[in-house]
Subunit: 67 residues, 2 copies
DNA sequence: TATAAAAGTAAAGTATACTTTACAAAAAGA
DNA sequence: TCTTTTTGTAAAGTATACTTTACTTTTATA
């Protein structure tokens, strides 16, 4: 699974720390998600999508290997 | 967070076991998600949404308490 | 009403999401 | 270049998603 959170942050010009604060998670959680170190819960994905005014599908995409 | 998986299953007339098989998780996992016992990962939510031809937002909805 | 299929539940175990603290590396700005 | 901000990383701990096995309850159907 890949995601475009880093790009969305760039568009809206906010830092990992700011996004973390808005989503009410730690900065390291945002960092790890951006780097693909782990996959967020649907709750967090929905929150992040809402913060960006995007859909979960726009932010997170299944890859072939995810079958 | 609430979800409409049970309704979608009814629309498409498939059992928890069948959905579990398609999503490659255990039947108990589907059951627990339907009953709100836990929130799936974004990976699983995307898979389920794709199986139903729906979006994650159509299946999973944030509630006021989820802040 | 008897039988089968589907759904609910429970417990014990494993995997992973997420937190906290702390520090290092990189990027940005003065 | 010096300083600050931002990002990356790591380790230890906690919470929770998910599995497996197995049994009970409910719902559908013959």
């Amino acid at each position: 699974m890949k995601n475009t959170i880093k790009v969305e942050r760039a568009k809206q010009n906010i830092t990992q720390a700011e996004l973390a604060e808005k989503a009410k998670v730690s900065r390291q959680t945002i960092n790890a998600i951006e780097l693909g170190k782990f996959i967020p819960s649907t709750l967090l994905a929905l929150k992040i999508a809402r913060i960006f005014g995007a859909t979960v599908e726009q932010l997170f995409e299944l890859e072939p290997g995810d079958e």
